[in-house]
Assembly symmetry: C2
Homo-oligomer: 312 residues x 2
């Protein structure tokens, strides 16, 4: 089978041996695979794949049909439409996935949307609902709201009954972010329509912790992405006076058991919202596997709305 491989900090298409489903696992014939900033970080060598996953094949999320079912797997059969957040190896024609990570793909959902669901919605659900504990009536600020995780955050905040302010640098994307359920879309990262119960940081940068001043007392800043700069001065006295929380989160380094627990929460609570049309997966662009280089270039470019997807 063909798959992308990382070599000398660059990507290249190569032929891999066909994978075999071990105990508890299935082989998925990949029909769509999402691209994520972590793929670029992995190529640069700053974000290695977790143990147990291909070290040199990018791709954190896939959708496709089950091709082989390994020993001890129950509830799945060849041909089932599934999607999953994986530790790597998704940008290929086939991948081995532990069955406990599989999510069902709702009927009629196109592959490109299914392929863009697992990473963004797992990250957003875990951060916003499970960790920040968002509740109806909360005021939420989401920075970098037009990206893959950002568009998922805006929708989950909306279905949670929050009043959502989305910060999106490019004015030409504002209407589309508003259509996902944001009450206010602003180009201004320093906007002051607070106070906020929750601030979701998807951008980072040296000034981003100044936004603590926009929190309500006992508010939460959850740091999910810091592509714009990963170090910032923290005025600790402000954090004390606000009695605020700052939470950092990633999913990739979690144990297999923790990832299975999160997948179970997605299966129970989030996939049904997707199936009912309460959530959708904005897709910025799709590329066939042999145009992988264009796909990564699009991922690295500014001004995207939603996900970039490979269609092997």
């Amino acid at each position: 089978m063909r798959g992308v491989v990382i070599e000398s900090q660059d990507f290249r298409l190569t032929t891999h041996p066909d994978p075999v489903a071990g105990p508890g696992c299935v082989v998925v014939q990949v029909r769509g695979a999402g691209l994520n900033a972590a793929d670029l970080q992995q190529a640069r060598g700053t974000y290695p794949a977790p143990p147990g996953w291909p070290a040199d094949v990018p791709g954190l999320e896939i959708a496709g049909e089950i091709d082989q079912v390994g020993p001890g797997v129950r509830g799945f059969a060849p041909g089932d439409r599934v999607m999953a957040l994986v530790g790597g190896g998704g940008h290929a024609e086939r991948i081995v996935v532990p069955a406990e990570l599989l999510l069902p793909v709702p009927e009629d959902l196109p592959w490109e949307q299914a392929a863009g669901f697992p990473e963004a919605f797992s990250t957003a659900w875990d951060a916003l609902v499970l960790q920040a504990g968002i509740r109806a009536g909360d005021r939420v600020l989401i920075t970098g709201a037009a990206g893959g995780v950002g568009t998922a955050m805006v929708q989950l905040a909306a279905v949670s009954g929050a009043h959502t302010v989305a910060s999106v640098r490019r004015p030409e994307l504002h209407d589309r972010v508003a259509a996902l359920g944001a009450q206010v879309v602003t180009p201004d990262q320093e906007e002051t329509q607070g106070p906020y119960d929750v601030i979701v940081e998807l951008v980072g940068g040296p000034d981003c912790l100044h936004r603590i001043a926009l929190l309500r007392s006992r508010g939460t800043v959850i740091i999910v992405g810091v592509q714009g700069g990963d170090t910032a001065p923290l005025r600790m006295f402000d954090l004390m006076v606000k009695r605020a929380r700052l939470i950092g989160t990633t999913i990739r380094g979690r144990s297999p058991a923790e990832k299975a627990v999160l997948a179970a929460a997605l299966r129970t609570s989030v996939v049904p919202l997707l199936a009912r049309g309460r959530l959708r997966v904005p897709v910025d662009a799709t590329f066939p596997l042999d145009r992988f280089a264009d796909a990564y270039a699009r991922l690295a470019a500014p001004g995207k709305f939603g996900k970039v997807i490979l269609l092997p």
Copy 2:
């Protein structure tokens, strides 16, 4: 009655009108009053008293006998021995205190110890137990562990079943901190006996957030004091990879209702531990009211073990 007053960023003893107990309040004849860093900050103008409390009389905690009972107060009578965390006004011979803030003083507990209990143990209980959620078996690092709040933190960590590492700059205080229940006492703020489930920051300073590297995955840093410097660079990517929480906390600015809730938790859970001798209040030095200047000087000096107390 006599009391200390803040004038031109300095302290002075003066005569105040005798207070009267309004509805829901009592007047306490102060027998002991703790000194806190916040008194010095208030004198410098950087930490004003919350609304409803004397703006210019320092003193955040008192112990003494009830002198007058205001209308609508139940369960208290003149002569009762009480202690309380107050919003200010404690460094005087008498003070008005809302009855809902009063804690009973255990029989036989000397005034100087009762006077040093409310602020340190309210702060420590709220931060370590209610917010950081410390549990038996946790590994805890407490910086600045020889001070008033530090000695309370070490004891509460010990009664909670935690393995406690205390960082104390002065070696001559190490034995006394160990006797409070710390398994390890170290002079090194950068010590590396982690990983820790909880780090209690009582010192601050520009390097203090580097200690995030010592956290266990999903660990908590709770920032309670930043006398050593209130701004520090935060490596947000480290916080993400550790999936760590950073919590800032203060008690002084809380609403009267929140303070009453905390006082109720102290009454139920912490005062009984004090009464049974499981907790004690280390007193560094006591001074009569007219030696207030020496008391504040001692408070500002390094090398203390426990609380500095005025005995009006």
